[in-house]
C-alpha cells in the first residue's frame, strides 16, 4: 500500500513541479501581453488623439510615440550605463577586498554590511540623494566643469543645485554597488583553490594570482552581476524621480540640468495625472523598457553562456 500511494504522490509532485517550471514562461508572456493589451490604443487607437496626448506630455516637443520614447530611452540607457561604469570598478574592488584581501573577521563583518546595504529601499536613496548629496556634491561638479569642461561630457556651467544626470548616476551607482559587490564576492570566493595555488606556486604575487585565477574564473559571474545591477539601474524609479531635473534631449551634458529623463521616472511623474489614453502611452513606454531590459539581459546571458560552455 505505501508503495502504491507513493507512486501517485510521485506523479502528482512531478506534474506540479513541471507546471511551476512552465508557469515562469506563462508569467513572462502574461507580462508582455497585459502590457501590450493595455497599451493597445497607442497602436490600434485614434492616432490624432495619441499625438495630442503625447504633445501634452511634452509641451509640444514630440507628437509621435517614437519621438517621445526615443529621448527617454536614451536617457535611461545613459544614466544606467554611467551608474554601472562608476560602480563596476569599485564593486569589483570591494568584492576582491572581501574575498581575498581583508582579514577574515573584517571580511565577515563587511559581507554582512554589504548584504544589508543591498536591501536598503530605493526611496531612502532618493531621500538621501535629493536632500544630502545634491547640495554636497555641487562644489565637486563645479570643479569638474571648471577644469575638465573642455571634455564635452563635462561642459559647464555645472547646474546648481546638481539635479543632473551626473548626480543621479552617482546615486544609482551607490545603489547598485552592494548588489554587484555581493554577487561578485560570492563568485570570487568560489574560485577553485587549485587555480589560485597553481598561480601562487608559479611565483605569482597576490595581484598576479588574482589576475591569473580569480578574475578569469569570476568573469561570467561578474558580468551577470553587472547585468543585474544594470537592470536595477535601468528600472530605478524613485531615486531618479526625486533627484533628476528631467529633459527630453539626446544630450551628453552630464553636469547640466534638464537634459535627460528615464522611462521609469517619467512614468512615475506622469502617471498620477494621466488620463486613460495617457496611461496607455505610459504603459507603452513601460513596454519598451521591458523589452529593452529583456534584450540586454538576454544578450548578456547568451554571451556569458558561450564563455562558460
Amino acid at each position: 500500500m505505501p508503495a502504491a500511494s507513493g507512486k501517485t504522490a510521485d506523479k502528482v509532485f512531478r506534474v506540479i513541479a513541471y507546471a511551476c517550471g512552465i508557469l515562469i514562461l506563462v508569467v513572462l508572456a502574461a507580462v508582455f501581453l497585459f502590457l501590450l493589451f493595455r497599451a493597445w490604443p497607442l497602436i490600434g487607437g485614434n492616432q490624432a488623439d495619441n499625438s495630442k496626448t503625447i504633445a501634452d506630455f511634452t509641451g509640444g516637443k514630440a507628437n509621435g510615440f517614437w519621438q517621445y520614447v526615443g529621448p527617454l530611452l536614451f536617457g535611461t540607457v545613459l544614466v544606467s550605463a554611467l551608474a554601472l561604469l562608476l560602480s563596476f570598478p569599485v564593486s569589483i574592488g570591494i568584492a576582491l577586498f572581501i574575498s581575498h584581501y581583508a582579514p577574515k573577521k573584517l571580511a565577515t563583518a563587511l559581507s554582512y554590511v554589504v548584504d544589508l546595504l543591498a536591501a536598503i529601499p530605493s526611496v531612502i536613496y532618493g531621500l538621501w540623494g535629493g536632500l544630502i548629496l545634491v547640495p554636497a556634491i555641487y562644489p565637486f561638479w563645479n570643479w569638474v566643469a571648471t577644469y575638465l569642461g573642455w571634455i564635452p561630457l563635462f561642459a559647464g556651467p555645472a547646474a546648481n543645485p546638481s539635479r543632473t544626470v551626473a548626480t543621479v548616476a552617482v546615486v544609482l551607482a551607490v545603489m547598485i554597488l552592494p548588489i554587484i559587490t555581493s554577487l561578485s564576492r560570492d563568485i570570487f570566493l568560489q574560485t577553485p583553490r587549485l587555480q589560485q595555488e597553481a598561480a601562487l606556486a608559479l611565483g605569482a604575487t597576490k595581484w598576479e594570482m588574482v589576475k591569473l585565477a580569480v578574475l578569469p574564473f569570476g568573469k561570467s559571474g561578474v558580468v551577470s552581476a553587472s547585468m543585474l545591477g544594470l537592470g536595477r539601474a535601468l528600472g530605478e524609479t524613485m531615486a531618479v524621480l526625486m533627484i533628476l531635473s528631467p529633459g527630453l534631449n539626446y544630450s551628453f551634458k552630464l553636469l547640466q540640468a534638464s537634459q535627460n529623463q528615464t522611462i521609469a521616472a517619467n512614468i512615475a511623474a506622469q502617471y498620477p495625472e494621466a488620463n486613460d489614453l495617457g496611461v496607455s502611452v505610459l504603459i507603452g513606454t513601460g513596454l519598451v523598457l521591458f523589452l529593452i531590459t529583456f534584450v540586454v539581459n538576454y544578450v548578456a546571458r547568451k554571451i556569458t553562456e558561450k564563455k562558460v560552455g
Binding site: 582579514p103 577553485p192 587549485l194 587555480q195 597553481a198 606556486a201 608559479l202 611565483g203 604575487t205
Partner: protein, 259 residues
C-alpha cells in the same frame, strides 16, 4: 642542477593546531624522494612548507628551518614569491588555467617573470617544456587550443610543463597521479624518472607500488591517532623501506597491514 633541501626541527601549525611535529629530513639533490603514510598524517602539509605554500592558508605558520642549499626559506628577508619561483609545485588534480591555451599555460609562469619575451624564444621554451613533460608530440599541432580540453593525464603533464618552464631547482608533487587513469599514470611516472636528471623531486603518493617504482628515498609519515600531530616515522632509501624496513610501523604499513 637540482638543489638540496634540509629540514630541521620543523613544526607545522594550522592556527593553534599542531599538524606535524618535529620533522627532520635531508632531501638529496637530483633524486626522487617519496612521502608515504596514512591519510591525514601530514604528507601534503610537509610538502607545502617546502615552497612556503603552506602560508597562504590563513593562520597557518611554521616553526623551524627549511634550508634550500643552506639558505633558510623562512628567513625574514626571503620573499615567498621568489621561493616559489625556485621551487615548483604540481598538484593532486591537474589545474591548467581554464581560460588559457596550451601554449599560454606553459608560458604563464614565465610571463609573470618577464613580460618582454620574443615570439621565437617563447616558441622554443614551449617546445622545450612540453618535450620535457613528454607532451610535445601529442599537442604540437594544437598549441592554441584550450588547455582544459586535454585528457586528465595530458593536463597533468601540461601542469608539469608549466612548472618546469620557469626552470625551478626543486619540483614538489602532491599525489600527481591519484586522479589519473593507469595509462596516464605511467606516462607521468616515466616523466618523473626523466626529470630527476635536472631537478630535485619530492613526491607525495598514497600508492606504495608507485613509491617503490620511482623513488630513490622514501619517507614514511605516521600519526599516533586522529587529532594528534603527524610525524616523520621513518626515512630510508626505497629498497630498504620496502624490503627491509628497520621500523615496525613502517613495515606494517608497507606490507599492507593497514591503510
Amino acid at each position: 642542477m637540482g638543489q638540496r633541501i634540509d629540514v630541521n626541527h620543523l613544526n607545522i601549525y594550522y592556527g593553534n593546531f599542531l599538524a606535524v611535529e618535529d620533522v627532520n629530513i635531508n632531501i638529496e639533490p637530483n633524486k626522487v624522494t617519496a612521502f608515504i603514510g596514512p591519510s591525514g598524517c601530514g604528507k601534503s602539509t610537509v610538502l607545502r612548507t617546502l615552497d612556503r605554500m603552506h602560508e597562504i592558508i590563513p593562520g597557518a605558520h611554521v616553526k623551524g628551518e627549511v634550508l634550500l642549499e643552506g639558505k633558510n626559506l623562512y628567513d625574514k628577508d626571503v620573499d615567498p614569491v621568489s621561493v616559489r619561483r625556485d621551487v615548483g609545485m604540481v598538484f593532486q588534480r591537474p589545474n591548467p588555467f581554464p581560460t588559457m591555451s596550451i601554449r599560454e599555460n606553459v608560458l604563464a609562469g614565465v610571463r609573470l617573470n618577464n613580460r618582454k619575451i620574443s615570439k621565437s624564444d617563447a616558441d622554443d621554451l614551449v617546445e622545450w617544456a612540453l618535450r620535457g613533460a613528454n607532451l610535445w608530440n601529442e599537442v604540437k599541432d594544437r598549441l592554441d587550443n584550450p588547455g582544459i580540453g586535454l585528457s586528465g593525464g595530458q593536463q597533468q603533464r601540461l601542469c608539469i610543463a608549466r612548472a618546469v618552464a620557469v626552470h625551478p631547482q626543486v619540483l614538489l608533487m602532491d599525489e600527481p597521479c591519484s586522479a589519473l587513469d593507469p595509462i596516464s599514470t605511467l606516462a607521468v611516472e616515466d616523466l618523473i624518472q626523466e626529470l630527476k636528471g635536472d631537478y630535485t623531486i619530492v613526491i607525495v603518493t598514497h600508492n606504495m607500488q608507485q613509491a617503490a617504482r620511482i623513488a630513490d628515498y622514501t619517507a614514511f609519515f605516521n600519526l599516533k591517532a586522529v587529532g594528534q600531530p603527524g610525524h616523520l616515522e621513518y626515512f630510508a632509501d626505497t629498497t630498504t623501506m620496502f624490503n627491509n624496513p628497520q621500523n615496525e610501523e613502517a613495515e606494517r604499513y608497507v606490507s599492507g597491514r593497514f591503510g
